[in-house]
């Protein structure tokens, strides 16, 4: 019983991390109609930046949360640069844009290997959240519960942003019908930059928030990218609710798979994807078939 409950909590924690990663991926995909293949790399880059700030740089030691924020902002700026100076060069050529993101992903992977080396970097759990909470026979680490809380808070924040603000209404209009949005005077290309850098920042934030659990190592990028892809295929592109539910499902399947069928843990991810592709190709909450 304890085993199952603990596994469930771990699954939900991982689902929360996946949501932070996949929400941006899904928004970018919904608006720009391209899967951003650098997304896993941005996650890893955020984790490495955060780890560097926390571990001390030039004699300065940052608080974990401050480090997370700085890393997210840096990667968000980097995302804006990628969108402005590379993807913008290839308007209306989604295939070329995807290939450019793939090329950049390789460059980031090699850059990280060059700067931080091949050994995994462990990031300490932020002070104040190192303990456990005891409920009868159950023991939950505070930090995992905090990750769930953060994911829920970010989900709420994104929902408010998309549903209640002018910017959100513009983004929704761009997702549903980019041409018509342009006609009514929305500068969709400006939204591209905003959404791309928002997604990049969220991915980086997820990277550093996840670092105390996953640690940071080369290959993390292409381990996370397919998970984000599967979440979006499952949940549907451009849908916040889809990303949320999809992340939870994938979090549960991945963790239970790893515990019960360790040899096939990656393979069981295939199952929900298979069912969705056969019965509902646009995803559970998707608005269009990619």
């Amino acid at each position: 019983m304890t085993f199952w409950l603990l596994l469930t909590v771990n699954s939900i924690t991982f689902g929360g991390l996946l949501f932070l990663l996949a929400a941006g991926f899904s928004l970018i995909f919904g608006l720009m109609r391209i899967p951003n293949l650098t997304h896993g790399s941005l996650f890893m880059l955020g984790a490495y930046f955060g780890a560097t700030f926390v571990g001390g740089m030039l004699g300065l030691y940052f608080n974990f949360w401050v480090a997370a924020l700085i890393a997210a902002v840096m990667v968000a700026l980097f995302g804006a640069v990628i969108e402005r100076f590379l993807l913008r060069q290839l308007p209306g050529q989604p295939l070329a844009q995807v290939l450019v993101t793939l090329g950049i992903a390789f460059m980031i992977a090699d850059f990280c290997l060059m700067v931080w080396g091949g050994d995994p970097i462990n990031v300490a759990t932020p002070s104040g959240l190192t303990g456990f909470i005891r409920l009868g026979p159950l023991v939950f680490p505070y930090y995992r519960l905090a990750v769930i809380a953060i994911a829920v808070a970010v989900a709420l924040g994104l929902w408010l942003l998309l549903d209640r603000t002018r910017l959100g209404a513009m983004i929704r209009a761009g997702v549903d019908d980019p041409d018509m949005a342009r006609v009514v005077g929305i500068r969709v290309s400006q939204l591209f930059t905003i959404v791309f850098s928002l997604g990049a920042g969220l991915a980086a934030f997820a990277g550093i928030i996840g670092a105390p659990i996953l640690s940071v190592y080369p290959g993390l990028d292409f381990q996370m990218l397919p998970l984000a892809l599967v979440v979006v295929i499952l949940g549907g592109s451009g849908s916040l609710l889809g990303s949320f539910i999809g992340s939870l499902i994938i979090g549960v399947i991945y963790n239970f798979g790893q515990a019960l069928l360790p040899e096939l843990s990656y393979f069981v991810l295939f199952l929900p994807m298979l069912l969705v592709l056969i019965f509902r190709p646009q995803g559970l909450f998707g608005r269009f078939v990619p």
Partner: protein
């Protein structure tokens, strides 16, 4: 008929070029300076078969697959596993081809639910799942340690354990693959496939079964990929998850795109380019991925059509300019 009437006298320039290329390929072991270079040539040829297979999808069907290394890996692992279980070479090769093509059928059924960008996403996810399987399913694949092969087959008493004999075997396979792709592209199925690439809805309205045409193209691509997987594993005598990862899929896609997708020679030129750059560069620096990514970005932005069509275009442009200048001079004289 009409082609024969157009060029009545002698051989066309193209036929001469092909004859020279064929003669050069057939004599590689005699003019290459050493065994290392013969091995590099073998690598170019079996990667060219792989790239030809991917090009059937990318170039002629307009479907960009980012998980093809996974399919190559399945055939390679199947060969390794069969040999390790004590079966002979012929059975191992047949089993690898059958398993490779069967996996392609499943891969195609899933990924052909979408086209365009959706196809890329699904194939990428499938490729990574195959990687995960190779990495984690230790009882079959031996995990990160991979599977070692011992020895190469002896078809008809011809031992292919030296660099030269392996090169000739690869050359034969390559020429067969090249002929098969040429026939395929010129066949009605090939024409229909290009139709589904350019005008899927119109093809559908004309009564073609678009899905089935794409599916059979996938199967042909899968066969070529499985063949190159077998060649690959016999060449390296070793298979590990590294051969299956996204980098490997991206490398072969780079071969197709850099050479020129949708051309017969493009993937071959691309394979030569990538293999040579990779083996030359790895002698000096370890940063292959950085360079791979940079070449990708550069090719996509600067020469999206690929080297072969790009060079042909530049050549024609120069030729036309030259002719125009001559014509202008000739007119100016009298």
């Amino acid at each position: 008929m009409s082609a024969a009437r157009k060029r009545p006298a002698g051989l066309s320039g193209r036929a001469v070029a092909y004859a020279i290329a064929l003669a050069a390929l057939a004599t590689v072991p005699y003019w290459m300076p050493g065994e290392y270079y013969i091995n590099v040539s073998s690598q170019i040829l079996f990667y060219a078969v792989f790239a030809l297979g991917l090009n059937v999808l990318v170039g002629y069907a307009g479907l960009v697959s980012l998980g093809h290394a996974g399919l190559l890996g399945i055939a390679a692992y199947a060969t390794g596993y069969m040999l390790e279980s004590g079966y002979g070479h012929p059975l191992a090769i047949v089993a690898a081809l059958v398993i490779g093509v069967a996996s392609m059928a499943l891969y195609a059924v899933l990924s052909l639910r979408a086209t365009g960008i959706g196809f890329i996403m699904i194939t990428l996810a499938l490729g990574e799942i195959i990687w995960g399987l190779c990495y984690r399913w230790i009882s079959i694949t031996n995990g990160d340690n991979g599977i070692n092969l011992h020895g190469r087959p002896h078809p008809f008493g011809f031992a292919i354990n030296t660099a030269t004999s392996f090169y000739y075997t690869t050359l034969v396979v390559f020429l067969l693959a090249m002929a098969a792709v040429t026939v395929f592209v010129r066949s009605p199925l090939g024409a229909a496939l290009m139709g589904t690439r350019d005008q899927p809805r119109r093809m559908n309205a004309l009564g073609y079964h678009v899905w089935a045409i794409r599916f059979w193209a996938c199967m042909f691509s899968g066969l070529l990929t499985a063949v190159s997987g077998v060649m690959f594993v016999y060449y390296t005598q070793f298979i590990s998850p590294q051969a299956v990862d996204l980098t490997a899929s991206a490398e072969v896609l780079l071969m197709v795109i850099s050479g020129g997708a949708g051309t017969l020679l493009g993937p071959v030129v691309g394979a030569a380019l990538v293999v040579v750059v990779k083996s030359v560069v790895s002698g000096f620096i370890e940063r292959w991925n950085m360079l791979l990514g940079a070449i990708f970005v550069a090719i996509v932005i600067l020469m999206p059509e690929g080297l072969v069509p790009g060079t042909v275009r530049l050549w024609r442009l120069a030729w036309r300019r030259l002719n125009a200048q001559r014509g202008a001079k000739a007119e100016a004289k009298p």
